[in-house]
């Protein structure tokens, strides 16, 4: 079994128009910038994929990564908890113009809905959002005398995630807090593509320390020197690069 994919363009080639795509990361940490940019490249040359529904904690920052995907007009709907950042203009402008739909989900509920999607749990109850506008129209029930809101699982057609090391079986480890949503999204998507800084031999990752077992991963592509969103934004970068 060999899940490695030789190129970024091949890694994102199967994502169709209208797909639900989970994209890992919390702000820039753990964001698979290169996979996102490969998707933009494909869109620029083929017009596809478009009308995507994207699940991410945020809504992009500056003009790279998720923000660049939105800027291209590829995203129809965003499911996230916090569509703010140091430079959220790309999303904000489209949102206020009614050009992109937003489903706002509390961060813990977002994480749990994704986990539930991966774990075959169609619904669960949480105290989060009870009595607030975000619980509107959701079933409420009491357990042990406290009210809870029922939330539904969240699944995706594809997950694009970023890991630190991966092997050809798809076993992954992450770098520090860049773990965040990445392991959860891997479980909740029909097809999970991981960009990893280094592809290693099976066994090189300690069996005890594997964070995402290979069963959750369908493709692994090596990006040896991944860009960090914060660094790109400090340098004023945009994707694709602006031609003077």
């Amino acid at each position: 079994m060999d899940k490695t994919i030789p190129s970024l363009s091949e890694a994102v080639s199967g994502i169709p128009d209208g797909a639900v795509v989970m994209i890992g990361g919390f702000g820039g940490s753990g964001a698979p910038i290169e996979l996102i940019h490969a998707l933009i490249d494909r869109y620029i040359s083929t017009g596809s994929p478009r009308n995507l529904t994207v699940v991410n904690n945020n809504a992009g920052n500056g003009h790279v990564g998720l923000a660049a995907l939105i800027e291209q007009g590829m995203v129809r709907k965003l499911i996230c908890s916090f569509p703010r950042s140091a430079d959220p203009r790309v999303f904000t402008e489209r949102y206020l113009a009614g050009e992109i739909e937003l489903e706002l989900v509390p961060q813990g509920t977002l994480a749990e809905r994704i986990r539930a999607g991966g774990a075959g749990i169609p619904a669960f109850y949480t105290p989060t959002s009870y009595g607030t506008d975000l619980a509107k129209d959701k079933p409420v029930e009491e357990f042990d005398g406290r009210p809870y809101v029922r939330e539904l699982w969240l699944k995706a057609d594809f997950a694009l995630i970023k890991a630190h090391k991966g092997d050809r079986l798809g076993n992954l480890v992450f770098n520090k807090a860049a773990r965040n949503f990445n392991p959860l999204m891997a479980t909740a998507a029909a097809v999970t593509i991981a960009q990893v800084t280094e592809i290693v031999e099976p066994g090189a990752i300690d069996a005890e320390a594997v964070v995402t077992p290979g069963i959750f991963v369908q493709g692994v592509v090596e990006v040896a020197n991944p860009a960090q969103e914060e660094d790109l934004n400090r340098a004023g970068a945009a994707y694709p690069e602006k031609v003077a």
Binding site: A119, G120, N171, P202, P213, I215, F216
Partner: protein, 223 residues
């Protein structure tokens, strides 16, 4: 060839349908044998409920590590690429539909796909383990079983008489006499021992066998 397949031969037949790279859970006991018969060039990845993916064969006697066991509590070994995880993550793999195949034993299988394999009735101590989770998780749930009970009664039945493990979950049954699919709530005969007529097989089966197409010979090596 004898008049029926041995347990080992049934396991061999079931193993032939497991694709290279498939993620597989084998029920405890008899189904564990399936792992031995992976066809050359194919390598399945085995999952066990107690938190291992990609474990290897049994160790030699005396080399057991009792913290490295399968769901049947038999010792296994590590392989390059093994991963450990806790029980909730393990059953997320099961319930979440991430396994390609689960192969389980059975007391009874109904033409509806219902399975009874955890309780022989109200007497004694009931024990369910992971069976009820497995039948709802894997993309394909297959059963391996003798075609009839030790008393000669059909194990493939119209409706299960024993407590159910799951409803409409089994899609293929490998028996000591035949390979039978379950489609639209009916048994569909795919393969049978060459020595056996369809009528002979029907006589040992508790519900109607549909024969909509050619029936292949069920040919298994001596093992």
């Amino acid at each position: 060839m004898s008049s029926k397949l041995s347990a080992t031969q049934i396991a061999w037949r079931a193993a032939q349908d497991i694709a290279d790279g498939a993620y597989v859970n084998l029920g405890i006991g008899f189904p564990e044998m399936v792992a031995k018969f992976q066809p050359p060039g194919r390598e399945a990845i085995f999952h066990t409920e107690n938190g291992i993916l990609g474990f290897g064969e049994a160790p030699r006697a005396g080399e057991e590590d009792w913290d490295l066991i399968n769901a049947g509590k038999k010792a296994v070994t590590l392989k390059a690429g093994t991963a450990f995880f806790h029980h909730a993550d393990s059953f997320a793999m099961v319930r979440g539909g991430h396994l390609d195949v689960a192969i389980l034993g059975a007391y009874e299988v109904a033409e509806t796909g219902d399975l009874a394999n955890w309780s022989t009735g109200p007497k004694g101590v009931p024990a369910v383990g992971g069976a009820m989770d497995l039948v709802h998780g894997a993309k394909r749930v297959a059963v391996i079983t003798d075609h009839v009970t030790k008393d000669g009664k059909p194990k493939l039945v119209k409706r299960c008489s024993l407590p159910l493990t799951g409803v409409a979950c089994v899609t293929r049954v490998y028996t000591s006499l035949a390979v039978i699919d379950i489609e639209n709530g009916r048994f569909v005969l795919r393969e049978k021992l060459p020595s056996l007529s369809v009528d002979d097989l029907q006589a040992q089966t508790g519900a109607e066998l549909l024969v909509p197409g050619p029936v292949a010979d069920l040919v298994v090596p001596e093992l």
